[in-house]
Symmetry: C3
Subunit: 217 residues, 3 copies
């Protein structure tokens, strides 16, 4: 009888860890680019909530996550203030390495839930999968745009959005097979997170533009 | 009896050619900035559909074009994958020159349809014309922002948005004169595309900031 | 009997002066970055109306200010055309200094009204205050993103968004104390504008990232 309560608790834990990992990615990027306290908080918030908010604007859904759970804005503010007083530049790289794993979990969870929300609105499969990708990836994209850099999700040749893309199709497949919702979500998230973890462990690189090979030839 | 069928077919053809021209502009820009495969697809999609999507968000219209015609997302994906395997860096400049003409047609078509959608919502003329400009121009603006560059539509001194602006006013005028919708749309698109083509052929430059003349004096 | 008429007139005057100050900030930034006439008008419009428009998209409110008061688009266009013919590069710095004061008034007014709109929708206090900040600050943020710079509101270490934040909380407090709406709005705007004016006069700097002190040590 414990399992029905354990799963939601686990999901909430993953969601919280991933949101903090996303926020820290924004916080560190903002610190690297020498933003001030306001910029650090804003970019951390954008990294944490930007993807889901953009998805909700596109799907015309309200309220946003951070409106319904406004306590998260206080958590984010506290996180930024604490980090600004304890985190030094030499901590950035180790923090980023530690955050890769909750971030990979978040990639799976957010792409699965984003895809599901879009499927529930009756959108075509490819659109729903894209919404999952936007949910998981565009927080980081907006973070990088505000920090005046080309989004790393679009340029670092490491699989990130493609893992979310693959996970989304798992959910579409699970719904087509009429599997229970929970199983579909879990397998989609597991595939996306697993692919991301495998990419991190193997150092696999996405193919770049083929003209890059021209230069080497 | 063929004309009533020919016109919609022609419009669909122009729309498809222009959308591909917009997508290729994003694809080439992304390749120039050394984005990876994910970035190339995302920026191509943003260039192709970003302007219409932003207009629809501002006008609170749903579904978006790429939701209603989701097959276009597959076309875009295929276009990117094919281009990444066949297009080399030395092809970029000739491709861009070839794409100027379908792009000019798209400028006319999208500014006219964007303006008409806004007029149909009862918006003021100046707002409707601006919506036409946004439809035609902001795909490229978003493309350039993501590629970490000042939007070329705002800085290259070649008439682009102003052609869309002029076309929009032609539509407003046609509606004020109670001309049939088809004629208004066609003349608006023709004026915008024609002005763009004339600008391309003559190399006309928009006035820049007058302080530029100070430096020369 | 004059006061009931004087206050709305005063507010309209402050709103107009602040909108022009915001637009001029965009215009000058666009000129500095060598944008063309189209870019100057677009960035000026984004600086003037971007914050309120983003707030309205997030709150799902229509019509936008510049749709309801479309005459402002003509004012903006005229402002840009006049400025492009009379403003020289050596005028930019003095113009910016003169605009600091209507800009500070706008910071107060727009953060107060943005917060109030969100409170009227029943949103949580922290969300409403954030909406006030977005209203007052994100026009400048979008201006800087389009001009390919890190937003100065996030990086110049001068209090701007925090003044709007403080003003928002004054309004929340005034509503909690059931003060009349007018008084709450006025005190919120006065606190935000007053803090900004004090920051301008004293040259107070926001704390930056603490690793900056590491480098000095």
């Amino acid at each position: 009888m414990t399992e029905p309560k354990l799963l939601p608790l686990l999901l909430t834990g993953v969601e919280a860890a991933a949101t903090i990992a996303f926020a820290l990615s924004g916080l560190i990027e903002a610190a690297r680019r020498r933003l001030d306290a306001v910029g650090v908080c804003m970019v951390a918030g954008l990294a944490a909530f930007g993807g889901g908010t953009l998805r909700d604007v596109l799907l015309d859904r309200r309220p946003f996550f951070w409106v319904e759970h406004a306590a998260w804005l206080w958590v984010l503010l506290a996180l930024c203030l604490v980090a600004m007083s304890v985190l030094r530049a030499q901590h950035f790289a180790p923090t980023e390495r530690a955050m890769q794993w909750p971030d990979a979990l978040g990639l799976g969870l957010f792409s699965a839930t984003g895809t599901q929300l879009a499927l529930a609105q009756g959108l075509p499969a490819i659109v729903a999968v894209l919404m999952g990708v936007i949910t998981a990836v565009f927080g980081g994209v907006l973070r990088d745009i505000v920090c005046n850099q080309i989004p790393s999700a679009f340029s670092d040749h490491r699989p990130y959005a493609v893992c979310a893309f693959a996970g989304g199709w798992v959910l579409v497949g699970a719904q087509a097979l009429a599997l229970p919702d929970g199983w579909g979500l879990l397998s989609a998230a597991a595939v996306a997170s697993g692919l991301r973890a495998a990419a991190l462990l193997t150092g696999y690189q996405l193919p770049g533009w083929s003209s890059g090979q021209d230069n080497e030839g």
